[in-house]
Symmetry: C3
Amino acid sequence: MVSDADQVAELLARLRAGTPLVQCITNAVVTGFTANVLLALGAAPAMVDNREEAPVFASVADGVLINLGTLDAEVAQTMRLTAEAAGAAGTPWVLDPVAVGGLPLRDRVGAELVPLRPSVIRGNASEVISLSGAEGGGRGVDSTASTEAAVDAAASLVGRTGGAVAVSGPVDRIVDGSGVRTIASGTPTMTMVTGVGCALGAIVAAFAPYAETPADAAFAATAVLTIAAELADEKADGPGSFAVQLLDALHRVGPADLARLRVG
Amino acid sequence: MVSDADQVAELLARLRAGTPLVQCITNAVVTGFTANVLLALGAAPAMVDNREEAPVFASVADGVLINLGTLDAEVAQTMRLTAEAAGAAGTPWVLDPVAVGGLPLRDRVGAELVPLRPSVIRGNASEVISLSGAEGGGRGVDSTASTEAAVDAAASLVGRTGGAVAVSGPVDRIVDGSGVRTIASGTPTMTMVTGVGCALGAIVAAFAPYAETPADAAFAATAVLTIAAELADEKADGPGSFAVQLLDALHRVGPADLARLRVG
Amino acid sequence: MVSDADQVAELLARLRAGTPLVQCITNAVVTGFTANVLLALGAAPAMVDNREEAPVFASVADGVLINLGTLDAEVAQTMRLTAEAAGAAGTPWVLDPVAVGGLPLRDRVGAELVPLRPSVIRGNASEVISLSGAEGGGRGVDSTASTEAAVDAAASLVGRTGGAVAVSGPVDRIVDGSGVRTIASGTPTMTMVTGVGCALGAIVAAFAPYAETPADAAFAATAVLTIAAELADEKADGPGSFAVQLLDALHRVGPADLARLRVG
């Protein structure tokens, strides 16, 4: 079970040596940033998201991200077909239920994807609570609940998927059948740049082929991103330079940096 | 009537305290940058633009931006429905008629949206002239006319919407029933980065819930963006670093900075 | 025939004086970055890509880019109509066959566009080999072949289009009826930022109206981008800051910088 900095460093070294091909069906707001995050980390992004190609590609990709940020009926169908194809091929896939909770289309699509058993669900507390079917409710993509409040909802989702749930917030909680792991690293600046949460989903998909369990991938991804954010914050003067520094930090982050990881 | 730096600073403080939820149906080129501008400013972006969700969302948003930069027939219908929903809910909304003037689809969509009475129309001189139905003509998204030449067209649009028109250029002119206000702040670098004009539309939508009149929101937004651009220019070495510095400057711009505002 | 730094500098001066209007139908991942590259260089981007407007616009644009990065059936039809309109109007156009080689939709679209005779085809070795119909094969957008291995495939495509083919890699090779020109400038960081290759296609389209032959445009574009990348690398600390510095460098790159061009 991956739960400390040394284990994360080892997985990161394997990821960089392997250059995993990570397919992303993600939202229009963050495609460029997500691809750059994956490149900086050492992965190979493939933003293949059309209906004809996406399901085919899911069987050659090393990991798949499905992010509900911007949807329409056709994209929703592509997501379903791609999730099925990933499942059939044994490709690990991550579901990011962006802004689920009160908007009709994404609530429906989220509910359809959970039974297809995503390896990891990555969201904020409100999204995880809403996706689980429990009472909660968000405000767009902002979470109005603490990550602790979402642990029961996360455990309920784990019971249905057999995978892991990563609840993002000031304290991140990674939940699977073996329990809850927490990470307290990271900075508030992460919420001042669009797509940092979405990037975490992509990083989880990049770690998944190297991790023994989905929760291990989620733990390593959260550790690497939050430490890189701390490194970036030291050099940044605001949200614009933070985003730039975050990419630089993801590229250079190593074992010595990861040693500052604050686990729960 | 907001027409000086102190009044702008007060509105900015209220915006930051309120974290307005700003829904953007904008073009594919600038979605990420627009979201980052809103976050840096202190607003909460929601890029909800699909046909099923966008009209619903317009009634919970604090302000809405509809930007015609990239269109197709389905998006055009979503824009109409969302404008109607915003109007019905009393949510202020901003129309940015990107590149209207000579291209069939966007000319038609612009003509359909004006009667739905946008709170603010934000465009360059060519776009405003074309949207008003007067003779003019642009060249893609570049303006070939001065903002002064667009004042009559702007006044004509104000007569039809009851709102305000912000004409962007080296000298910005904000027009409503009470007259014309001008702002001469800003830098030429603003035209070397894609989406700076589009970002202004989003910032207007963020100010709208706090301003007494649509023109006040347009004035405050133009003041904040042009001053932030001047701050950014002092630290930038070219258009790439300017875009980064602009986000940092939008995050930190305060009363002392706004004092350099040059009004007409 | 443009084959040295002085000739490139002269073409660059003409481009900047002319501010060419470059229409891009490109992929959703890189639209913003591509527009910013064109602005930094001194061109005027127009990301007009809907079915109603794109073919019309191709007759007023100075150059057109068609990039297959993200596709669906409707976009594919728009690309065909736009390529035909560009051909009919005599507007030079560039085809970037992103990730052609093994994915059904883009292979089909690529095969349909070649007979419409693009002025320049710009791709990596795998893409060029696949597009030519020869045996090869890629891995998403990564090339698994050297540019030398693609020269025969490029020559075969030149025979069908009458234009030029630019094969991108550590050594770039520009092929047309007159032979093969090589450029060895550039840096590995170019592959760590999404959209740098796509940007090259846009830069070729910006040079095309000023060059005597398509291969001259491809040579000048490759020279300017690779030298700008070298300048950027000197100031960057990683892929995030490299992308920012690349835009700054494209804005300031001049004859003295181009003198370091390494030709084959």
